[in-house]
């Protein structure tokens, strides 16, 4: 059954049940991947999936139901279920079905061919050989994988709005295990993009990163200056991105509520959300409610410009919508989230940053953020690893320490930013980037 047939069945079922306002969110996904172990392919997998969500307005409330089972019977049941679910909703936020923006930006996300299983296996094996060839210390347990995904998303509604976007992405991962003098370490490098070129670079980086971690010592507890790598600053920013959601603020779950126009970060911090950034694999011309997207300045020179909103939250809070309605998957309800969420680069070279952080730590790994960071309070206490900074240079590796602080305070305490952006959280429709960040006086627990 193709999407036009599905739409007809849903429209017919809606009509029979007296539902005049609804939208349909339809996601198709094809993917394939190959993985290695030792000198052979260990696993090849492929996925063809379809999922759709029917959302209808009944008595001013939205009801949701979704499925992967595309039969006429299931689609009719979906409409009934969504209509029934709407009747139990008590939230007083106005449910808004969007008629459509005057125009949508053209985006040309690159169309990529789906490689065959043989091509993927050959590529994965080539990467595996490259990774082993990087060092005599690379050992079994090292795994490389490559994959390709096609995602297509359709959004249509009872106003006649019909929107379509698609994305193609290739992924490559080198996960290297090294062993030397009885000590083992691992590290991985991965890339999402539109080509499989230069996978050797991934192997090189993964192996050199794993080797650099060997012989790590523990750090005495204390207060240190730290340079948080651009990658880890991205990860931290992603973890706390929910505090910029207008809905979180409305519910009292973000301390940024009512802070628009106020200084919430150091003067050097500018944060944008850009659906058309080159840092995304695919650009996004419309959000999950069908609103045309735009670039939004969130923090400018330390001052909060706006939070992120969907239609109903913006209406309830009397703010301008920012077209940030999103769905994590076809079945999820609408939430608010950014596209490319990035702190802009500063002016200082990485070496200058190290000089200023002399005696401190360059933090290159943060682990367990899902548990060690609390988005409601902003507090974090996170297992970390990195390198000592001595005489303005990177020195020996250190691990098994925590850095602790509060995200809201951290924004204000950023001392310097490097002139280099790292997209530490790469993704298809969502990514996060940041420069290296110098923070003074960070509490570290170690030995």
């Amino acid at each position: 059954m193709d999407f036009s047939e599905i739409k007809e069945i849903l429209a017919d079922a809606a009509n029979k049940q007296g539902i005049s306002h609804y939208d349909v969110y339809y996601v198709k996904n094809n993917s394939a991947s190959a993985e290695t172990f030792k000198d052979a392919i260990s696993s090849v997998s492929s996925e063809n999936s379809i999922g759709l969500c029917f959302r209808c307005l009944k008595d001013g409330k939205f009801g949701y139901a979704s499925c992967e089972r595309i039969t006429e019977e299931e689609l009719c049941a979906l409409v009934s279920k969504a209509a029934e679910n709407a009747t139990y909703i008590e939230s007083e936020d106005e449910a808004i079905l969007f008629e459509g923006s005057p125009s949508y930006r053209e985006v040309n996300n690159k169309v990529l061919p789906m490689p065959s299983a043989t091509e993927l296996c050959d590529l994965a094996l080539q990467m595996q050989r490259q990774t082993y060839a990087e060092s005599e210390y690379v050992t079994d347990g090292t795994e490389c994988s490559v994959g390709a995904t096609e995602i297509s998303i359709d959004l249509c509604n009872s106003y006649g709005l019909t929107l379509h976007k698609e994305a193609y992405v290739y992924s490559a991962v080198s996960a290297a295990v090294v062993s030397k003098d009885g000590e083992a370490e691992d590290a991985y490098e991965y890339r999402l993009g539109t080509s499989f070129d230069n996978t050797k670079e991934l192997s090189e980086k993964a192996v050199s990163k794993a080797l650099s971690k060997l012989g790590a010592t523990e750090l005495p507890s204390g207060i240190y200056p730290i340079v948080l790598s651009g990658k880890q600053m991205s990860v931290l920013l992603d973890t706390f991105s929910g505090v910029f959601s207008g809905k979180s603020a409305k519910l009292g779950l973000s301390l940024l509520k009512g802070k628009e126009g106020e200084k919430i970060a150091a003067d050097i911090v500018t944060l944008v959300d850009d659906p058309y950034s080159e840092c995304l694999v695919a650009k996004t011309p419309f959000d999950a409610e069908g609103v045309s997207t735009e670039t939004t300045a969130i923090i400018k020179d330390g001052v909060l410009q706006t939070l992120l909103y969907d239609l109903s939250t913006a209406q309830a809070m009397e703010k301008k919508p920012t077209a940030n309605a999103s769905k994590a998957g076809y079945s999820s309800a609408i939430v608010i989230s950014p596209y490319y969420f990035g702190i802009e680069a500063g002016k200082m070279s990485f070496d200058e940053l190290l000089t200023r952080a002399d005696g401190g730590v360059y933090v290159t790994e943060l682990k367990g953020l899902h548990a060690g960071a609390n988005a409601v309070t902003g507090d974090f206490s996170i297992e970390s690893a990195g390198f000592r900074i001595k005489d303005g240079q990177l020195a020996e590796p250190v691990k098994s320490f925590t850095i602790a602080g509060n995200f809201y305070d951290l924004l204000k305490n950023i001392d310097c930013l490097s002139d280099q952006i790292t997209v530490g959280v790469p993704g298809v429709f969502h990514a996060v980037g940041a420069p290296d960040v110098l923070l003074k006086n960070v509490s570290i627990a170690g030995k």
Partner: protein, 459 residues
Amino acid sequence: MLNKIIAAEVLAKAMSGGADFAEIFCELTRTQSLSLVDSKIDRITDNVISGVGIRAFKGTQTAYASTCDVTRGGLLACAQRVADVIADGKASVNLSLTERIFPNIHPVEVEPVGADMKRKIDLLKAGCFAAKGYDAHISQVQGTLALVDRTVWIANSEELFTSDRHVRTRMAVSSVASDKGENQSGSCSPGRGMGLEMFEIFKPEDIGAEASRHAMVNLRASYCPAGRMPVAIENGFGGVIFHEACGHSLEATSVGTGTSQMCGKLGQKIAGDKVTAIDDGTMVGAWGSVNIDDEGNPTKRNVLIENGVLKQYMIDRLGSRRMGMPMTGNSRRQDYHYEPTSRMTNTYIDNGPDKNEDIIRSIEYGLYAKKMGGGSVNPLTGDFNFAVSEGYIIRNGEICEPVRGASLIGNGSQILMDIDMVGQNLATGQGMCGSSSGSVPTDVGQPLIRVSSITVGGR
């Protein structure tokens, strides 16, 4: 959704390229989630997950393909994708499948997804309103009632044809306590492998009150000091220490590829004498229980560590081939999109010889971790971390003021040896565990234990 005749035909197709084993995993899952915020029902979502995953082996190479097209044509096309990968020979396979019915040891009284909606809303409101009414400082309460009804059919080329049903119910309440521009949070989220009868064990009002009590303790807490100290970790979700520090390192996922620090340690002493640890997928109605695992093997009670000695790994079919050891009923996956791998079910440290009061009394200065958050581990190095969501300083053998924002970090092999006291109040807590085969429900558990020294991350 899957019948024996089509299953045999599909398995034969999957093996036609020369595979030595093939398996079909077919799933029909109905989920429902009710959420409440600001004292009002905010969202109700229903979802139907439906599809099939087909896997074939040649030695330790696997091919996996999944599709949501469960027609005969869809299944055969999916099997062909698998056969195209394992295609270095030709096999003509003629299978006759035998249906095996495993006893259902997790009976369900009130099927949750189809139950009366008003009753479910009342349950959720009872929990959330109790949380809101707990204290005037409780500024926000969010609640979720998550319900799952999953039927799986599994067939394989060893002539197995079987099915199972997994029903799960969970209520999660999280409270925010606010004072002077500061927010603190607390939560309570029990779940069971049962229907709405779960609420005869857990009163919704108690769940809500516990979430708010937790938030109020944190509102009055100061930051946890940093440093290395003895820590007493309470029962229930405290068992996440074993889950992270050791459990993942005993899964064939890492042991079978030689990337676990527990490789080759069977029969060796890896933990303190008082530590006996068990993974038991047969606990009646527990969050991580199933009758059969996602490869169709009955789950078991596996003693992993006995009096400190490593006895057993947790092994799936691929792990079994890699390691040359029998399967243990631990193969799991989030849904048919994922190839299964070895996972924990309900994993806990068993009761020990020490009295709980003696454990607290034994600590001159340290931390009492009453409630734990989640954590993570690198099985290769054994380095782990987890968050303390409710903690207190112990001074001169007494539990004193509350502290917040703490995490515990360490190394699995070291920490297991440092568990030197094990109490007697075993209880479990529920979590969702993430790994290469997706997110699966697991119970963690333990009685109160003492770790003689661990790094406490604070400030």
